[in-house]
């Protein structure tokens, strides 16, 4: 326009982009996912509130799995590497990502952490996200599955209050069920009912690391996930 009239004013140009703002993160996540697939590693993004029992679930998983499967972990924490220390003590090679003020892990942080962890030899890589029911749901890390730990003490309405997080969950681990006898106001059926309103494919597994209840089912779920992943890879390789 202004080229025509010669007034010398800059031209206003509109560019249609229509791309995800987090396209950069998505690319790195895809790259991580390809790494995991290539080495037959099932990456599990474990999310949940602070204190929902994420680290305790992983400690119990390591104990229950024994020598049958090799585990590794990346733990996101705001200020300490305490979770990674606990997991190393439980025999799981682990590395901490100290996020400072960041409330979530992103694909680049995970990618950098992979350089400092012997993850290729493991069967399951647990990415223990920062304790938070909001921000971690937004970032793809390259995981095969999302698991959300929800403890019975958090209340029945948490899924309805944080629908974005629960919508993305492939499985909800209902933790600390050994406390249920002390919580007459909490109903497991009500929690399942709330999940059905935020998860199109509701999947909940009640668990207690203290009594061991539910651990066998949890290990079974992990094995099923691994089998599904391996068969998908086999199909891709044949094609």
């Amino acid at each position: 326009m202004c080229e025509t009239c010669g007034c010398g004013d800059p031209e206003l140009v509109s560019i249609d982009v229509h791309d995800r703002i987090l396209a950069g993160n998505d690319r790195t996540a895809k790259h991580n996912r390809e790494h995991f697939r290539e080495h037959g590693v099932v990456a599990v993004n474990l999310m949940g509130s602070p204190g929902s029992g994420k680290t305790a679930v992983l400690e119990a998983t390591a104990r229950a799995v024994g020598e049958r499967r090799r585990l590794a972990a990346i733990s996101g924490d705001l200020a300490t590497d305490r979770d990674a220390e606990r997991l190393r003590a439980a025999g799981v090679p682990s590395i901490a990502i100290t996020t400072g003020s960041a409330c979530h892990l992103d694909a680049e942080m995970v990618h950098r952490a992979l350089h400092d962890l012997a993850w290729r030899a493991c069967d399951f890589l647990f990415i223990e996200n920062v304790g938070n029911l909001v921000c971690p749901a937004v970032y793809d890390l390259g995981q095969a599955v999302n698991v959300v730990a929800l403890s019975v003490t958090e209340g029945e309405d948490k899924p309805l209050k944080y629908p974005v997080m629960f919508r993305k969950a492939d499985l909800v681990l209902l933790t600390k069920i050994d406390l249920l006898p002390h919580l007459p106001e909490i109903s497991v059926a009500a929690i399942a009912g709330a999940l059905a309103r935020v998860m199109p494919r509701p999947a909940m597994l009640p668990l207690s690391v203290r009594s061991g209840e539910g651990l066998t089912r949890w290990l079974g779920w992990l094995e099923d996930t691994r089998a599904a992943g391996v068969s998908r890879t086999a199909v891709l390789e044949r094609a």
Binding site: S14, R20, A23, V134, P200
Partner: protein, 113 residues
């Protein structure tokens, strides 16, 4: 407060697009944020006010289009109201989020000399 890191990613992308076209300034940025995106438009806006200083977007208006969440049956496209069980009442198929999880950069208006 992941809105700050989302805004940082947005500014990086807008700067790259503006640079590629040798733009002298950016006048308007249009984004779409879904109700189920996990992003608070108001927090995004305050992050923008803070982070746009001394960037090519300093004088650019940020337009945020809020997209409502819409659940539907993937087979019969029957709508499922928010708060309902996320399953088609007719055929029991798990619902699909047809819209509402967008975190999109739609359009940039820039001045090109």
């Amino acid at each position: 407060m992941h809105e700050y890191s989302i805004l940082r990613a947005l500014l990086d992308r807008v700067e790259a697009e503006a640079h590629a076209r040798s733009a002298s300034s950016v006048r308007r940025i249009r984004v779409s944020i879904g109700e189920f995106a996990g992003v608070e438009p108001e927090l995004l806006r305050s992050a923008y006010t803070l982070l746009r200083e001394r960037t090519i977007c300093q004088d650019a208006e940020l337009e945020i289009r809020a997209v409502k969440a819409r659940w539907e049956c993937p087979l019969c496209t029957r709508r499922i109201a928010p708060g309902e069980v996320l399953q088609c009442p007719e055929c029991r198929t798990p619902a699909r989020l047809a819209s509402g999880d967008e975190i999109m950069l739609d359009q940039i208006a820039m001045e090109v000399p």
